[in-house]
Each structure stands twice: as structure tokens, then as C-alpha cells.
Point group: C2
Chain length 131, copies 2
Amino acid sequence: MRIGQLAERTETTPRLLRYYEEQGLIRVGRAANGYRDYDDRLVDQVTHIRGLLEAGLPTRLIKQILPCLDDPREIHFADATPEIIATLEGHRDQLARRIEVLTRNHAAVADYVGALKQCALGVEPDPASGD
Amino acid sequence: MRIGQLAERTETTPRLLRYYEEQGLIRVGRAANGYRDYDDRLVDQVTHIRGLLEAGLPTRLIKQILPCLDDPREIHFADATPEIIATLEGHRDQLARRIEVLTRNHAAVADYVGALKQCALGVEPDPASGD
DNA sequence: TCGAACCTTCACATTGATGAGAAGGTCAAG
DNA sequence: CTTGACCTTCTCATCAATGTGAAGGTTCGA
């Protein structure tokens, strides 16, 4: 598949796909004429990367956890070094902390919105009521 | 409290605190001599903001959900307009989507790390085994 | 008085993109 | 085979967001 087609299928742009390649997020082959040649699986991979970026993860972190996200899940045995394991554990725990923070704040926003909707109905907010 | 003290108590820098003020994330009074004068509650607020930024939320979103995070939780009745409610619901749902994405990927990283550790023990990974 | 802390303001760095230009490849119609 | 539309290549420039650094001046506190 060429770059234009992948851009279309992932709702991105050729420019962005070249950028991701430059950043080491995707690996891309070349055709005889020098054009980039994309595997079908890149559609899912790029979509996945977009999701992670939109979730606020920086590319350097995404780059490091990419091997974890391969589908079909295959273990890269060369990764089983203490250093890589420690790095990934760090990333794993960082993700857990992010999730905690976002979960707490999601709850706070949800509560607040619920209370606001009570106000909008002309009702005093009642801590014991649902939405 | 002056800027240096708040910086110390929040493990940030005076520079960053001025930046947050400039971005509208915190509101700061002034002493007669022109020095910034920070309320004690800013310690918690700044810590909270740091957490949200580290979790990947952009300042413009944080700015909008700040009223939801006040402690003690007080409803700003003026916020009970359909527009503000709709905006906050959008933010709330965006947070939920972020949490979903991060949760899925946290699980993937955790699984992968678990498998790697099996490899590191010289054992073939077994899908049915725990960490 | 003197150094530390504060003030404002301008400039720079990094990240995640995006735009524009110049050059060349591909392919179908004429 | 040539033309033209459309694709690709690369490179340089630009943008917004999140900070950081430093210059030049004021105020504090010992």
C-alpha cells in the first residue's frame, strides 16, 4: 500500500505518516522506485498510535511500549534483559498512575456536572442523589 | 506566601508558577509592594494541576474543569447553563475515553512485562500463568 | 549597604505536528 | 511518445503548547 492510501484508511495525512516513521513509531518498507510500501497491519498500528497520542502519551514512551502492543502478541526474546524489563515496568506503573489521576478527576467532573444539572432544573444540589 | 515558598512547597519553580498564572490556571493576589501573594490552598491546587498535566491533560482543558475540582466542593451556580454543562460533559466523556485507552494499554504492557519476566527465568511464556 | 528574592520582559528549547516548494515517478488518454 | 493529473520524494519553515533561561531593575531582610 502506498502512503496516500494508508493516510486515507487511517484518516491521517501522508505528511503525518512520514513524521511517525521519522519518529520511529512505524517501520516502513520501500518499493523498487523508492516509494514507501506499507503493510496492511499498519492501518491498525497507526490507528493505535493515534489513540495513544490522543490519550496524552508522548511518542518516546509509545515507541518503547510498542513491542508490547503487537498483535499477534509475540514476545521479543531479546527484550528479556533486566534493563528493558525495568524500563517497561516503569512505563507500566506510570500508566497506572495516569489512570488513577484521570479516574479521580473524571469522577470529580462527573459529580460536578451532575450537580450542575440539578441546579439547571432549579433544584438545590443534594449530595445523596444520583444524576 | 511568596512565590519562592510556594515553589518550594509544590516542588516547582517560581518561573513555572508565574507561567501557570499567565495561563489562567491559578489566580494570585498581590501584596502592596507588587510581590505575588499566594493563598495556602494554592499548594494543593498547584499539586493537583501538576498531576493533571503529567497525566497528559492540556492546560485549556484543565482550566475548564478547575471549577469541578474545588475543595471544598462548591457549585458555581452561574455555571449551570446548557452550554457549560455540555462542554463539561464533553470533557467528562473525553476523560472516560482516555481512561479506556490507557487501561487497555496498561494491561497490554503488564502482560508483556509478565511474559518477559518468564523469559528472563529461562521459561517459555505460558498464557495461563500469573506474574 | 549588600546579597537574596522578587519583578517584568524577551528569547529559546522541545514536542507534535503542519505547510509549502522543488524535483521527480506513474499512468491513462490522446 | 507526450501531456497532464496525481502521486511520491525531500527539505526548510512554521505553529501551539509547555516550559526554561537570562537580562535589567526593584524590594526585602540582615
